[in-house]
Homo-oligomer: 147 residues x 2
């Protein structure tokens, strides 16, 4: 797995199962009770959009791909999702992907998955979280000007 | 490794080497040029304080331990460290710890390290990043009142 293609191919083929399992799990771990004001469909949309970002990022990696990450992180801010919950949700996705792609493999294959995940998916998550925090930071700076 | 003690013991015994290696690496990856205004000693202090948080958290896990994480994340905000750089720095620490504790082990042992790290250290990092974002969020809310 020296190219991200294996992730993309797997995600594209098993998209429906991954999406359903992920959405179900993050609704169950949502202790911020965001769920009371957000419909299940909205969670599905948010998860679906993240999967689009992953697939697009691997296939294109251009300026638009970065803009997608920025837009997405702004939407999470607007939805009121806390960073802790976002980190947990991304962690759940990683574990589901591991379960599907590597659980029954040898430990050597599992370690390969861990490194490849760290190489290809973690940087996207890092950028998403960074943009989320930057969004708050920019609001602070804009407010400072207004004060 | 069903208790976090192995991490604590290892970190306490090899603290000096881990600290030196970590500080050196994060100075080299600092593309925000924070380094131009922050002395090397300050990086060492920040890294050292994180190690204190880990060790304390494992040994105590009380209210003070949580307050240490909150204070620490506020200090990172004040230092002007971006969330992306903090995520990268924590990632570097994880890799150094892996290299020291598991690199020469069997793949089975390596996978055990990955799961134990995820179980014991990732939640502390999650809380630290969450508090960092909350700190910006609180500033936005305070400024809103002032506007």
């Amino acid at each position: 797995m020296d190219k991200p293609n294996q992730f993309v191919q797997y995600i594209q083929i098993h998209r429906e199962e991954l999406l359903n399992e992920w959405t179900e799990q993050i609704i169950s771990i949502d202790d911020q009770k965001v769920s009371s004001i957000i419909s299940d469909q909205m969670y599905t949309n948010i998860c679906n959009e993240y999967i689009n970002i992953l697939v697009n990022h691997f296939m294109v990696q251009d300026k638009d791909s970065m803009e997608n990450i920025i837009d997405y992180s702004h939407r999470l801010v607007q939805l009121g999702w806390g960073l802790g919950f976002i980190i947990d949700s991304l962690g759940v996705f990683g574990k589901i992907l591991f379960k599907h792609m590597a659980e029954d493999s040898s430990e050597m294959e599992q370690m390969k998955f861990v490194w490849e995940y760290d190489r290809w998916i973690s940087p996207i998550n890092r950028e998403l979280l960074n943009q989320y925090a930057s969004s708050w930071q920019k609001t602070v700076n804009l407010q400072k000007i207004a004060l």
